[in-house]
Structure formats: C-alpha cells, structure tokens
Amino acid sequence: MSPGPKKSELVNRLNNGKPDSGAYPAASLEMLRMRARVLAAIRTFFHRQGVMEVETPVCSRSATTDPAIESLVTRYTGPGAPAGLPLYLHTSPEFPMKRLLAAGSGAIYQICKVFRNGESGRLHNPEFTLLEWYRPGFDHHRLMDEVEQLVQALMSEPPAVRRISYQALFQQQLRLDPHQASAGQLRDCALNQGVSGVDRLDLPHRDAWLDLLMTHCVEPAMGPGLCFVYDYPASQAALSRVRPGNPPVAERFELYINGIEVANGFHELTDAAEQQRRFEQDLQTRSAAGQADVPMDGQLIEALSLGLPDCAGVALGIDRLIMQLAGAEQISQVLAFPLERA
C-alpha cells in the first residue's frame, strides 16, 4: 500500500481547517481516507488469495455465551414475530461463518461492524469493525503466516516480527509458568511487579490473574512490531481445539502490534459435543456470576455435528490496526463517530 501522509498529519490535521465541533467526525478526513485505503487493500488481498467475501446477520436469535463478552440486544416485532423476538447483535460473525464453512463455502472472509456491551475506553468502542476470515486445511501456525503477510502488505516499512508461546512469554517476562502457577502465585507475582491495588483485588479465577499480568506487565514490555502469542492455557481455549499433552494447550493465537492486542485466532474446534459442553459450562459460569442468561447457538452445534472442515480462523480489529498504522493513541482518533458522537 502507498505510504500516504505522515503519521502525525493523520492524527493532528483539522478537518479542512474547520473548528472542532461534536457535529464533525472525531477522526480527521485524512484518517478516514486512510481507512478507506486499508479496507480496499484488504479486499484486494483476499481477492488475490481466492478467499470469498461473505455477509452474515448482525442480529441473531442466539448470542455468544462467553462470560467475558456481553451482547447488546434489540427486539424485532412484525410478520414472523407478532409478539416480538429478542435479537442479539453479534459480537463476532464466527457462528454463522462456521455454518457457511460446514455447508462447503471454502475459504471466506467478512468485514463487519460488531457490538460489545460495556466496552468503551482508549482502545474500545462498543461498536467496532472486525475482519474475520477462515481457512479450511490451515492450522493456527499457517494462519499466523497469512495474518503476517496481510499486515506486512498494509505497512509502509517491514516491522519486527516475533512468535512466542504463551508459556515462553510468561517465563521470559515474569519467570513463571502460566500453566502451573496457582492463583496465589500469580497474585504474588503481580504484587512483586508493583501492580497497584492487588492487595484489594478480588478476582474470580486464575485466568483473571493471568489477564491482569498480561495487560499490566507483559503487553507493555512487548515493544514495537508484531508479536504473535500462541498455544494458550486450555482454560482459555474459547472456540479453539485443545491439543493433548502435558500440559494440554489451546491452539489459539493472538497478534499484538506495538503491545496492543489486534487479532485473535483459533485452530477451530470441530467437535459438536465438546462445543456444546463448553457453551453449557459458559452458561453456568454466567449464571453463577449473576450475568444475563443468553440463548446458545443450537444451529452452530448442528452444523458442527453435520461436519465442519478442519480449519483455522481469525478475527482482526480493523480500528486498532489503523491506529497502529497511523500512530494514533486513541480509538476515537480513527473513528468518524465514536460513542460520544454517535
């Protein structure tokens, strides 16, 4: 992709010299032009790779069961549902895209707005743009290769790239084994690292302590460039397959750019019974924590039981990617109308 204007111009340039007003976009027009160029370059990339663009419903009868993600919900009333039908805004297009894969679509991608309740901040907006794609026949390592290719193609200069397992990353940075350490040891580590308020933090489980260490100690030390982290603790498998071993690990990866989480990928779980068990476990966790009960996606389970090809898939946050390409500090700098102006 052509380099375009300098990073500082993208972030700072006023909109045609007009005074700032909540009526105008938060992002500069230069930034919005860059967004358009990035989206076009992504579509060209997948066109060349022979990956088909698809669209799936934003509003669904079922929702993600993931206890760490809250769906926004709306209601349809009319023909087909005179008494009203709750519809959940998708938090990622994963489930219907897997139903397409099960139907034999082959490699597919989608660029869409997704929605997450309760998430707003420097790196979060409750609606944001995801690029999600699936590759039949790939495992998570081969998909990391393709993610790297795509991101490199969007950057004007080749970045430093490294790949490291979740375990090696924690061992290197914190000298502890994330698979073996107890919640108490993780808490002590956070105390030793000087994370303030740890003595008063009441976290629900070990994974939350790992999340604390990841966000407060590991991510800030990642440095510039791309960092792929792979093979997560099995307790953080989400929708990835778990590779047996000692310890068993989830075939999941994340891409960080300059220490910012940008993408999450899986060597996808294809086992319907295991998927159903995880959904049920999620719902129990949600209920125990007093979170909203949500309908699980029975159609996904059915599609898996009909046969999902062996595949890997990844979701990449476009807004955060653009932030990194442009050197922006806040997600609002790359959005025309973030929550405050929506």
Binding site: E119, R122, H124, L201, L210, T215, H216
Partner: protein, 190 residues
C-alpha cells in the same frame, strides 16, 4: 453510603481510597478481548496531594467521597486556624495548617480563595493565581535602575519573601504569581 461503579469513573470524580478522599485524574479501561476487564486509574489523594495508580476490577463499586469546592473569603487567623466565610450565606469554616499548606504565604484578609471541603471541613485552600501584596521591607535600590536585572529580596505583608527589581520600594503594592512565587509587576491600589 453513596458509591460509584467503575463505569461511572471519569476525571474529577471524588472517591474514598484507603480512608482518604481522592480525585480521579485519569481512568483507563483495560480488557483483553476474551478476558477480565479492569479499570486502571490515576488518582490524587486530596489530603496529601500524592498521585498514585490503582487497578480495579471492572464492575466493582467504590465509596464516594463527599467533597466539594467553594469560593470563600479569607477573614483572619487566630494562630491555630484560618477562618473563611461564604460571601452570601456568611457561614464560616476554619482550616488547619495542613489544609492551608503553602497557601499561607499568600493569604491576605478579604481575598477570595477556593476551599475544598471534605464532609464539610476544609482540606485544601487554594489562593488565586495572582495576588496583590504590599512590600513591608526591602533595601532601597540604586537610583535610576529600571532594568530589574539582578533584583533584591522583599518581605511582603503576609510574611512571604519574593525577589523584586531594584526600583521597587517599601510600601509599594506588587502583583505576585502564587504558583511560581515570582514578582510579576507593580500593582495599583484597587
């Protein structure tokens, strides 16, 4: 007891932390895509002025601090307390030395101050950025010097000592920047 949840956190919000009233300076929402959400907050302890960082689990609730700021008129000091009055209600409050802090150097009766009250009692007294004070003592300067270069110490009516240009004399009113403690200019009687 009033509380705030982490989703109400923003700059300027007053909360209780470790028994002290604090003001949020900066609030960052931190959350892995598939993990636990946190609020990483920069907070100023209003009693000590110290700035600390603190991480909360998102969704947690924190006790609200009953803190407000008022513009009050400084009346006098009895040596132990500094007394202030609300110009409309004539209600009076008294601040101790800890609350008055460095502001004591610039406090002149009748001047308006911003007083931060916690549970009704003053914890911070802030003087205006600029005050006019009379010089009670300074060495006579050299005649004809108008450059202000070098300068000399001058004791003000509040007891503060500032450096002033050589041409400024005892009995004159000067304007002082209270943030830097520096002379700004000569001032006219109001």
């Amino acid at each position: 007891m009033a509380t705030y949840s982490t989703s109400e956190f923003k700059g300027g919000l007053k909360i209780m932390l470790d028994g002290d009233p604090c003001s949020i300076i900066e609030n960052e929402f931190v959350k892995p895509g598939k993990g636990q959400a946190f609020n990483r907050v920069k907070i100023r302890n209003l009693k000590t002025g110290r700035v600390i960082e603190r991480t909360f689990k998102s969704g947690e609730s924190v006790e609200a601090a009953d803190v407000m700021e008022m513009d009050l008129q400084y009346l006098y000091s009895d040596g132990e307390f500094w007394h202030f009055m609300h110009p409309d209600t004539f209600e009076q409050v008294s601040a101790d030395a800890a609350a008055v802090g460095d502001s004591v150097k610039w406090l002149k009766d009748q001047d308006m101050c911003t007083v931060t009250l916690w549970n009704g009692a003053p914890i911070i007294v802030e003087v205006p950025n600029f005050v006019n004070l009379a010089i009670t003592e300074t060495d006579p300067g050299l005649k004809g010097d108008t450059s202000g270069g070098g300068g000399k110490p001058a004791t003000l009516e509040t007891g503060a000592v500032v450096r002033v240009p050589l041409f400024v004399q005892t009995g004159e009113l000067i304007k002082v920047d209270t943030r830097s403690g520096e002379y700004v200019s000569r001032a006219k009687e109001e």
